[in-house]
Every structure is written in structure tokens, then in C-alpha cells.
């Protein structure tokens, strides 16, 4: 494919061309201008494109060809659980009785939708071991913040108003400290030890009367199970704090362990990750929260409950933190997750975790021959390599990622977590076959060879993509955030 500018939809536009087919005006015409007057009537029409229907399909098909998804190939993007997105989920989400229902319809006219939500809540309660679940939060970060707001409300309800700090491991996802700030807390960091786990001594040092909560991902972002979780829970609980579980890595432990049993008081789940959302190019996701009985009164309102044989939205929740989102959450995504859980059942979900972990360990043992593995123990569903051997040869982790593009792969997550130099975070997921894993392993070993023998080949990558490396510096210094017809 020739490297050239791909036209914007606006550049395909031509005056007089149309693609619309609107319902006609079958009522008597009225003079809107007379009624509204000049001040409310737009003088210049917004410059939307004027294209034919075929133009639209060619344009967006062209764009899709310039994009890479799980259906295109292997996508071992650590922390994101890029597993296969089942097609039945998409079919179900498009059923009229689910996609074309209004959130303000009388409850008796949407009992089927509410039944699905109730069943999903029950399933997620069981999978996490939590007392109650709300589906209202829209995404992972939103769920984190929702849970922290509940913890905040819990402490306030106890007259415990001096708990201003939320403890976050140095390996945590950036949304953790950011959510703490948005919820009105100060984020403080707890260090990891040489095994890649939370340092209990440091935890004891930072925990105190001002501790509102500890946010923890388990397995953590290094893909390692926090083996001292029970001790950690005790330290935080003894200090009066709450334990919050970031569900980003739940795919490692379904059916093997549950956050509720580990002592967590609140969790969020990423239905677009663990439960095949899909990811949608960046969203929409869904981030339900689960809580212990103690935090149950603080869940967002309304809460979906069952009263006799009817499903109802319960607004009578005086201690609720309130609404975190209009309506009842990302229903369409929740429905897909429900369909996935019904497809897999207990046996399938446990197997998913088993194979996700097996796949990751297999790859890790093959790749540690060429790439530095900072933490040697078995991993869970993902592992983190360091590109520091290659860095000595002048090849950065970014270069390795770009070289993978030439071989047709989406690269792993890079430069995260922050506590590993030149990090490469690999999450294969359970839906990939051994052949796919072997292909990727061979490629990674080839790239390690290239780094030794032909470093420029890696440093200058990618060579095969439709565009080369982008000038991100200029993009940030002189931002162009929209198309201007006369700018070129």
C-alpha cells in the first residue's frame, strides 16, 4: 500500500451530494423563523460532509483497513485483556427488545431487561464473593472512583472525617491515584519489594489513622499474586482503612480465588476486559462495583432489586452516594458480558483463567532466554519483561514494539508498570492458540537477534506499516485538533 494521505471525510465532500433518507414532513409546514426570531436561528450551517452512501462505506471501510483489532491478529496488550469478542454477544445486543428500549419506560414494560441485569448482578456477586453489586459505573476508572466515594461516605457516616489518604502501590495503574484525587483524597505510594509485591514494612509505615483505603490489583500489574494479601488486609483494617480491589486482572483468578474472600471491601470489574465487552477502539466499557455488606448502604442509586416476582429500581437509599451516571449503567455492554458468562458457566470461566495463566507462563519461560525477567516466580495471566539487555545495544523497548508491527502483531503494553525499566507487559489471554503464542515467541526472539546483529533495523522500525513513526512532539506543541477547510 502506498504511503499517502488518506482523505478525511470532509475532503470527500461535494456540494449537492447527499446520503440521507429522512422521514418526510407529513404535517402542515410552519414558519419556524417567525416563531424563533433571529437570535435562536443558526446563521451558518455546521460543516458536516456532503457525501453519497457509497462514499461513506468506502471511507469507513478504508479507515477500518487502517486499524488493527483482536480479529486482525494477536494483541497481547498487557493489563487490557484483549481476548476474543464473541459474535453472539453482538447479535444479542442488537435485539430490538434490548437495543430499542427507553430507560424511562414504565418498569413493568422492561422486566426482561431488568431480569438480565439482576441475573448479571447475581453472577458478579458470586464470581467476586461480594455482598452486592451495582452495574451503574461506566468504565474501570469510573468504578474506582465510585468505590472510593462509597468508602468516603462510609467513613463520614462513622464520623471518621480525618481519613484523607488513599494508599496506592508504585506499580498501580495511573487511574488509581487519579481516581483518589477526583474522590477528594490524597494519594500516597507504597513501595514494592524485590519480589515485585507490596512491601509490608512500607505498608505499615504509610498506613495510619488518616488511611481511608488501600487500592490494590491482585494479581498486581506485574502479573504477580500478592501472596501476603491476608496480612495486608489485616494491617489496613486494623488501622480502620478499607481495602479496594481493582478488577483489571480478574481474568487470572476466576474460580480460583475471590476478592471478597481475600478481605476486600469494594471491587470494580472491567466487563470490557474479563467479560468480553468488547473494547470498541477505546470504549464504551463497563465498570460495575461490588461491595461488602458494610458498604452496601452506600451503593449508587437506584439499586436494582427483586421484590416478590418483580424487578424494581430502589431509590429509597438514604445513605447512597447518589448517582454516578444517568440511568443504569452501560446496559449494552453489561448484556454482552452476561451473554459471555452464560456461555461459559462456572467451568468455562475457571478454564479461561487456567489457560490465561498457562499461556502467560509458557510465553514467559520461552522469552526469558533473551529478555530480562525481573521477577522469576510463576506469573498469573500476564508478565512483565524488561528490555534492559537490548537497551545496552542501543535498542529501546519502544523500538521493539515498533518492530513487532512489521511482523503483524500488536505490541505488548510498554513502559508500564513504572517500577520496571524499559517494561514490556505481555498478556496473551486464554483465547489464543499455542501456534499463535509460538509465532509471537519466535518473532520476539528474532527481534532480540536483530537487536544484536542489525540494531538499525529495529531502531528504525516500523518499515511495513502504512505510516512510519509519527511526530508526536509537534502534535503536542502545535496542536491541530480538528480539520480546517482552508488550512492547507
Amino acid at each position: 500500500m502506498a504511503n499517502q494521505d488518506f482523505p478525511l471525510i470532509f475532503e470527500r465532500s461535494k456540494l449537492g451530494r447527499t446520503s440521507y433518507s429522512l422521514p418526510e414532513l407529513d404535517v402542515p409546514d410552519v414558519d419556524l423563523n417567525a416563531e424563533l426570531g433571529n437570535k435562536y436561528i443558526r446563521t451558518e450551517a455546521p460543516e458536516l460532509p456532503e457525501v453519497s452512501e457509497l462514499d461513506i462505506m468506502r471511507h469507513y471501510t478504508g479507515l477500518s483497513n487502517r486499524n488493527y483489532g483482536v480479529d486482525s491478529g494477536f494483541y497481547p496488550l498487557g493489563s487490557c485483556t484483549m481476548k476474543y469478542n464473541p459474535k453472539i454477544n453482538e447479535d444479542v445486543a442488537r435485539m430490538d427488545g434490548f437495543s430499542h428500549i427507553h430507560p424511562d419506560q414504565p418498569e413493568k414494560s422492561v422486566q426482561g431487561a431488568m431480569e438480565m441485569m439482576y441475573d448479571l448482578q447475581s453472577a458478579l456477586r458470586e464470581i467476586t464473593g461480594m455482598h452486592e453489586v451495582s452495574l451503574q459505573s461506566a468504565a474501570g476508572a469510573h468504578g474506582e472512583w465510585t468505590a472510593l466515594m462509597m468508602i468516603r461516605a462510609f467513613h463520614e457516616a462513622n464520623g471518621d472525617t480525618e481519613r484523607t489518604k488513599v494508599i496506592v502501590p508504585d506499580s498501580a495503574h495511573g487511574t488509581n491515584p487519579a481516581s483518589a484525587t477526583v474522590a477528594g483524597f490524597e494519594a500516597v505510594t507504597v513501595k514494592s519489594n524485590e519480589k515485585g509485591l507490596v512491601d509490608l514494612e512500607d505498608l505499615k509505615r504509610v498506613v495510619g489513622e488518616d488511611t481511608a483505603a488501600l487500592m490494590l490489583t491482585n494479581p498486581n500489574t506485574l502479573g504477580l499474586f500478592e501472596t501476603e494479601i491476608v496480612e495486608m488486609a489485616k494491617i489496613v483494617h486494623d488501622a480502620g482503612g478499607k481495602l479496594y480491589y481493582d478488577g483489571a486482572n480478574l481474568n487470572a483468578i476466576m474460580g480460583y480465588a475471590r476478592p471478597g474472600d481475600m478481605g476486600f471491601d469494594a471491587v470494580h470489574l472491567n466487563l470490557h476486559k474479563t467479560f468480553t465487552g468488547p473494547h470498541g477502539g477505546g470504549g464504551p466499557g463497563s465498570g460495575p462495583v461490588g461491595v461488602s455488606a458494610e458498604l452496601q448502604p452506600f451503593l449508587p442509586q437506584p439499586l436494582l432489586i427483586k421484590k416478590e416476582d418483580q424487578f424494581v429500581f430502589d431509590y429509597d437509599r438514604p445513605q447512597s452516594i447518589g448517582r454516578v451516571k444517568p440511568y443504569y449503567g452501560n446496559f449494552g455492554i453489561n448484556l454482552r458480558a452476561y451473554t459471555y458468562i452464560r456461555t461459559m458457566g462456572a467451568e468455562g470461566l475457571k478454564k479461561a483463567s487456567e489457560y490465561a495463566v498457562l499461556n502467560a507462563n509458557y510465553m514467559m519461560r520461552k522469552l526469558e532466554k533473551e529478555y530480562d525477567l525481573p521477577f522469576k516466580q510463576h506469573c498469573k495471566h500476564e508478565f512483565v519483561l524488561s528490555g534492559k539487555h537490548q537497551k545496552k545495544l542501543g535498542v529501546r523497548t519502544l523500538d521493539i514494539a515498533k518492530r513487532l508491527l512489521d511482523y503483524g502483531y500488536h505490541p505488548p503494553t510498554i513502559y508500564f508498570p513504572l517500577n520496571v525499566e524499559e517494561a514490556l507487559m505481555v498478556e496473551p489471554t486464554e483465547t489464543e492458540s499455542k501456534e499463535t503464542l509460538d509465532g509471537f515467541i519466535d518473532t520476539m526472539l528474532t527481534i532480540a537477534d536483530e537487536a544484536r546483529n542489525e540494531p538499525e533495523l529495529v531502531q528504525d522500525a516500523p518499515h511495513q506499516t502504512i505510516v512510519k513513526r509519527m511526530d508526536e512532539t509537534t502534535a503536542a506543541r502545535k496542536p491541530i485538533l480538528r480539520y480546517e477547510a482552508n488550512s492547507e
Partner: protein, 449 residues
């Protein structure tokens, strides 16, 4: 039991175990302490085969009264609009929907360009120079705007019109607890924000005022008066929540001096789907460009000078700034933004104005026939495609009766506005026909008595 998403064979498994040097996968979980190990089987429904599950879910879906089989006059923030066929064909392309956030621009130009185009369309509609890649929905986007105004002005007081969507106001309230903002609600006069009360409430502590245009009751707010009011209060920011379809016909908020414009693009190509996922938008001034929450896509060039797009100004965001980020938001509604972009491209420049006008004209016709049917119209001000009627009975009971006749009635305002018993917000979109509107008026007359 077979699982079609799991390609592992017994042979593969054995080879992999050998490579790792273990006998069974159980060893990989031995680091989970015994006392927190889950040793039972999860109590979930048995796995269902594809055919059976699809049938079961179709049965569940059939229990819902859907908008295709019933004629809906319900809006109130979620609308039943025409969705061009091309929309679903585009968003069903799995290169889009099975991808994630475009971290690797070389293989994500499709998504990045689609977002850049979306940003441009939102900028055009609102008149604001900067728009982001999308937010969860209109309500959370508005709450983010409020938090931004407080951070930017270093003030804590927010004036919110009661004609802002009640659920958005509820979300603002929740978000405001984090930074400890004071939310003051402004009463209504004839279905619009009471400008005198607003004027009295603004002081040197006011970070922003928030209105919806067209407002929740369908009315057009006195935008010029509010703009004038703010001329002497330069620091106070003007936040406007707008239905973007209305902006196809109405003067954009930028023309009234808005600092931040938010809303939801559900009206463009996104089905109601019981309230979500929809797609928030967030548009603002150049001045606030580096404070915007969420992802932004910018145009640049590659090493060979070829035009391309990247995620940009990331120094605002959580993965770089962590606790100092402007927001904790990480995802965006990319797939829904794509749906809206396709719908906006399909409707096009002239189609949009026409579509907005059809909405307004059909709503005016409905208002007239409802009046003829003996229903009182509550407010006489300029409106878009929704208006409020006063009925002789509680709206909820009337809606129950309407449902029996195959109509989904309007929004019961009593839920959010104590005292407005019997007040119903009626929405009329371009897909309602004259016959349906006439029939609705007839049924309402019969039920209303």
C-alpha cells in the same frame, strides 16, 4: 464440556507444562494462600449452547416493550431517532470494535482519524474550537465540566439551573463531593431558568453557571440575557449542555459566549439501549485546551511527511500525571463516537438542518393537536422538539393506559419536580408520523377525560 473460545488441546497443554517444568496447572496457582483459595465451584447457571442461549435471550428481550413495536413520545434526554443503515454496517467492522485505545498510531490510523473527524464535527456543531474524543455520556461529561470550572477558577460555587436534566444534576452532586463544591440550584420561571434569581446568586465565588439548551423541559433558555449577565463576571464560566441535533438549526452555544459545551450524541446513530452506552461530548475554548478531560487526537506527520493522527496533549492524563491529572477518565466511547460520526456524515450538512426542522415542525403539530384534544400546554416559550403538557391525572397512570394502546407516553415530571403532578414532557422526533401523532392525541383525550 466444550468451550468454543478456548483453543487449548490436551496435547498443547502437556507441551506447555513441560516447557514450564511443572506437572499441572494447579502449581501455577499455588501462590494463592490456602485460606483464600476458592475450593468450590462457582454457583452460576450451567453453560448454554449458542442456539439455546440466543433463544433464551430473545425470549427475555421479548418481555420488553420496545420502541420499534410501540410508538414512543418519550424523550427527556434519550431519543428515538432514525438510524441510517450504514451506521451498524460500519461499527460492525471488527477492526474497529475489537481494537482498544489507539496507543500504536502506525496500526491505528483508522480509529485515530475517525476520532479526529468526530472532534471536528462536534466543533462544528457547538461552534467551539476544541472538542475531545468523547466522554461516557452527557451527564458525566457535564460533571467533568463543572469540576474543570472549579479547578480553573479556583472557586467552589456552582449555579445549576433546575432545567438541567435531573439525572445530570444528580451526577453533578455526586462528583462535587470530591472537590467539595457547593451546588446551588436556580429555580424556573415559565419553564426556563429564572434569570433574576441567577443574577442575584452570582458572586465572586461563583466558578460557573450551568444551563441546558434546549433545556430539559424542551424550552430555549434566554441565552442572550445570561450572556449579558456574565459580561460583568468575566471569571465565572458559562457551561452549556446541548442536544447536538438541535444545534443543526439553533444558534450554537459558542455564539452566546459558552466556555464549555457538553452533551450526548445518542441522537446520532446510537440506539436508546436502556440508557447506555451513549456518547458524551466535551467541547471548549482554546484557552482550556490543555485542561480538557479524556483523550484528544491531533494531526501530525510521520517521518516521511505523510499526514497522520496521534493521541496528543497526554500530559493532562492519568497515565502520565497520575494523581495530578485533570480527570481520572481513561476510556472514551470510541465505538459510539464512530456511530455518531457515521450518522452525521450520512445526514450531512443540509440533511441535519432539515432533520432538526422536521423535529420542530412535528413537535409543533403535536402540540397543536394535543391542545385541540383538550390537553393544556404548560409553557408557551420557544422550544425544540419537546414540550410540557398538564393532564388531569398523574402521568404514570396515564402512561400505563397508553402502553396498553401501544404508545410509550411522555416523561412523568412529578418524579423530579415535586408539585408538577400530572405534568408530562412529550417528545416528538422526525420518525413520528402525522397518523401516529393524531392517534396519540385521540388516546390521550380519551384517557385524560
Amino acid at each position: 464440556m466444550e468451550f468454543r473460545y478456548l483453543p487449548m488441546t490436551d496435547g498443547d497443554k502437556q507441551e506447555m507444562l513441560n516447557t514450564i517444568g511443572i506437572d499441572s496447572t494447579e502449581e501455577l496457582f499455588s501462590d494463592i494462600p490456602e485460606n483464600v483459595r476458592f475450593n468450590n465451584e462457582l454457583n452460576l447457571k450451567k453453560p448454554a449452547n449458542e442456539y439455546k442461549l440466543k433463544k433464551e435471550l430473545a425470549d427475555m428481550a421479548a418481555k420488553n416493550a420496545n420502541l420499534k413495536q410501540n410508538r414512543s413520545f418519550l424523550g427527556a434526554g434519550v431519543y428515538d431517532h432514525f438510524i441510517p443503515s450504514v451506521v451498524d454496517h460500519v461499527i460492525s467492522r471488527s477492526e474497529f470494535y475489537t481494537a482498544y485505545t489507539p496507543y500504536q498510531p502506525e496500526i491505528s490510523q483508522g480509529e485515530l482519524q475517525a476520532i479526529f473527524e468526530f472532534q471536528t464535527m462536534i466543533s462544528e456543531l457547538t461552534g467551539m474550537p476544541v472538542a475531545n474524543s468523547s466522554m461516557y455520556d452527557g451527564g458525566t461529561s457535564l460533571a467533568e465540566a463543572v469540576n474543570l470550572s472549579a479547578a480553573q477558577t479556583k472557586r467552589k460555587k456552582i449555579l445549576v439551573s433546575k432545567a438541567v436534566h435531573p439525572q445530570s444534576r444528580a451526577v453533578i452532586e455526586t462528583y462535587a463531593k470530591g472537590p467539595g463544591l457547593e451546588i446551588v440550584e436556580i429555580d424556573l420561571q415559565d419553564g426556563k431558568t429564572d434569570v433574576n434569581q441567577l443574577s442575584d446568586a452570582i458572586d465572586d465565588e461563583t466558578a460557573s453557571i450551568v444551563v441546558q439548551y434546549p433545556n430539559f423541559l424542551g424550552q430555549l433558555e434566554p441565552m442572550e440575557e445570561i450572556q449579558t449577565l456574565l459580561e460583568s463576571k468575566k471569571k465565572t464560566m458559562f457551561i452549556v449542555s446541548s442536544n447536538p441535533l438541535a444545534l443543526g438549526y439553533l444558534t450554537p452555544p459558542a455564539a452566546f459566549g459558552a466556555d464549555i459545551v457538553v452533551g450526548d450524541t445518542q441522537v446520532f446513530g446510537i440506539p436508546a439501549q436502556f440508557g447506555g452506552p451513549h456518547c458524551g461530548y466535551f467541547a471548549t475554548t482554546k484557552k482550556l485546551m490543555r485542561k480538557v478531560p479524556g483523550r484528544l487526537v491531533g494531526q501530525t506527520t510521520d517521518e516521511d511527511g505523510v499526514r497522520g493522527f496521534v493521541l496528543t496533549l497526554q500530559a493532562r492524563e492519568q497515565h502520565i500525571r497520575r494523581d495530578k491529572a485533570t480527570s481520572n477518565i481513561c476510556s472514551n466511547q470510541a465505538l459510539n463516537a464512530l456511530a455518531s460520526s457515521v450518522a452525521m456524515s450520512s445526514i450531512g450538512k443540509h440533511g441535519l438542518r432539515k432533520m432538526a426542522a422536521i423535529n420542530m415542525k412535528k413537535a409543533r403539530y403535536a402540540k397543536q393537536v394535543l391542545q385541540q384534544a383538550g390537553v393544556t400546554v404548560a409553557y408557551e416559550g420557544a422550544f425544540f422538539n419537546e414540550f410540557v403538557v398538564k393532564l388531569n391525572k398523574p402521568a404514570a397512570s396515564i402512561n400505563d393506559r397508553l402502553l396498553e394502546k401501544g404508545f410509550i407516553g411522555g416523561y412523568d415530571l412529578e418524579k423530579d419536580y415535586p408539585g408538577l403532578t400530572g405534568y408530562m414532557l412529550v417528545a416528538v422526533t422526525e420518525i413520528r408520523t402525522k397518523e401516529e401523532i393524531d392517534q396519540f392525541a385521540k388516546e390521550l383525550r380519551d384517557i385524560n377525560g
